[in-house]
Assembly symmetry: C2
Homo-oligomer: 345 residues x 2
DNA sequence: CCGATTGATGTTAGCGCTAACAGAACGGAG
DNA sequence: CTCCGTTCTGTTAGCGCTAACATCAATCGG
């Protein structure tokens, strides 16, 4: 014996396939066919079955279906802090695409990302028999965690670094940073300072690389890049340190929140943006256009990232579980009012 | 016959309970007991079973367990646009609490919230046999959608208005708004303008009510409250309209993003904050402390909301599915530099 | 007019697990 | 040494669904 039968609001037993079959005068198998491949059932029979389905308000039991078919229609997402703009946007777009394709999304949002936590998150989801898993893994250390995972369940990594034994979809942070820096150089700035993100974030190191590459390509001096923690506070603190230095005329900040903090520190120090200092951010959060002044920044297309990740995962489900392969989404420079021509001293 | 058997990375069949039983020299039932109520099995037997579990890297099949027990260990969350600060924070905290209690969370994030979409979201989740559902339903119209739902699955509403036939956990927007307005009045402002959120949001109307109540309690004039759409842009547009009016010395804005837009419009018009105009927001987004100037705002405790919603839902799962009951989380006024004593003209 | 073909539906078995009960093993009291 | 309650472990059945094959009637060409 098993599960006590759940009841409907009016106290009756929830209808199962056999009930529908009885009411329609057919076998359970025919009901199953009507639900899964209607074209194999005579229209007339089909109609009788559908009528019974409606009359009994029947819904197939997904657990039974999963058990019988081995497919659940659920996708798992392991993500870092879904409160941050990037992860939240990625998650949102994944869910949208998944739903369009009749998949449900289960999430595990980690507040710290490391080998252990990633593995646990993936395990949790696998234990729920998801059909596939996406790991939104912006940390370098996450890559290690991914390497240790068994390749049992189709998996794609979103925003992960190289060296990951799974397909990866990522924004081209490097190209975005290069665009930002070239923009600044084209405005006449001698060099460009960089406030980086936390060292172990792939996003952060990609942006550092792009910034450095663009400076070197132009034969400019490459100052050391200090790192913040993505928060406005850390941008502010950085700003307090550099505000007094008249040599600083252009700063590329690794995200918009830190840029906001920097803008504040600059204003407090009486340095005009973009008059004295030009600032470029990264993300293009919805508020960036209303920063003081409106922020020139690099926009990431999270919707596209989600879409591609989903497509890739769908390929893996059913297809072979090959590793490798990397798809890159290009970010876009959005020029606003925080950048301007270098003012000669 | 059914489901083709999935394989491990090395091509072997995934272990099932019977395999573990065979290896440990016991029956499948004993394995089941070791996993679910270890105290009922002799320590020595238990050890043999656990060894086999590890040796075979066995994981119970959740679908089979769900089918046999009727419980899935999955909670569903239907939420509006999880990209917004509030919903994202709520979702995050729900997932954290749920995970601590060994529940997985499945999500449906709606980009529009109405009777239909809510019902569909809930249906989707019920079809996945979730044990309980949370609806993060900040729209008035969502309430109607909730009324039409069958009471089959335990459900709690988060941030919903009154009149919902389910338990509700919500932030006390009204009290938060009153606090904001009283703060402004205590600084000597004659009256307080209000830029509201979209009319059909419960959060928005709660804040309007609180604002109005506080003004009326103090015997002040109650100006009509225009409504924005939560975006910085709408705050900016509102700001352009009122910036020229010297009568306006205090504004309570329904969220931080709109406040940011307003601050920008005010600055462009040459009006000093808080010198000429005091501004209070709502939300306390992480960036609020770095707005120009740092924003006085009302902080919502989303972690607490998530925790209570989860507790409430857990009560309903297993317990009777009573309706009614409402738990309220108090918001807190955070005073920063965007508010100041009214300057006499 | 008959065997072969096609299409619609039914039968059987089993996916992997656990509830409920049955049975074995053990220890202590009489 | 027997009897009886405790533990502990095994057996049986079934959760609700679907894959695979079986069946049956209708259809068709020769």
């Amino acid at each position: 014996m098993a599960a006590e039968s759940p009841e409907t609001a009016d106290g009756r037993r929830l209808a199962v396939m056999e009930d529908v079959a009885a009411m329609a005068g057919v076998s359970a198998m025919t009901v199953s066919r009507v639900l899964n491949s209607p074209e194999k059932v005579r229209p007339q029979t089909r109609a009788r079955v559908m009528a019974a389905v409606r009359a009994l308000d029947y819904r197939p039991n997904s657990a039974a279906r999963v058990l019988a078919t081995g497919r659940s229609g659920v996708l798992g997402v392991v993500s870092f802090d879904t409160t941050l703009y990037g992860p939240a946007s990625t998650l949102f777009s994944i869910e949208q695409v998944a739903r369009e394709h009749d998949y449900t999304v289960s999430i595990v949002s980690l507040s710290s990302l490391n080998r252990r936590s990633i593995g646990e998150g993936v395990e949790r989801l696998r234990a729920q028999s998801v059909d596939g898993i996406m790991v939104v893994a912006p940390h370098e250390s996450a890559a290690d965690g991914l390497k240790e995972l068994p390749a049992t369940t189709p998996l794609v990594a979103v925003g992960a670094g190289a060296d990951v034994p799974f397909p990866v979809v990522a924004v081209d942070h490097r190209a975005g940073a290069e665009r930002a820096v070239r923009h600044l150089l084209s405005l006449g700035h001698e060099t460009v300072m960089h406030l980086a993100g936390p060292a172990d974030w792939v996003d952060a190191s990609g942006r550092v690389d792009g910034w450095r590459a663009a400076l070197e390509a132009a034969g400019r001096e490459v100052p050391p890049p200090p790192a913040g923690d993505w928060s406005a506070r850390s941008g502010y603190e950085y700003g307090r340190r550099i505000a007094a230095d008249p040599e600083v005329t252009a700063v590329f900040v690794a995200n918009d929140a830190m840029a906001l903090g920097l803008l504040r520190a600059l204003r407090e120090a009486g340095r005009d943006v973009p008059g004295d200092v030009s600032v470029v951010g990264f993300d293009d959060v919805p508020e960036a256009a209303y920063f003081p002044p409106p922020l020139t920044t690099v926009r990431q297309n999270f919707a596209e990232v989600g879409r591609r990740a989903f497509d890739l995962l769908l390929d893996r489900i059913g297809g072979p579980l090959e590793s490798g392969s990397r798809r890159v989404v290009e970010p876009e420079l959005v020029v606003r009012e925080s950048t301007g021509v270098r003012r000669r001293t």
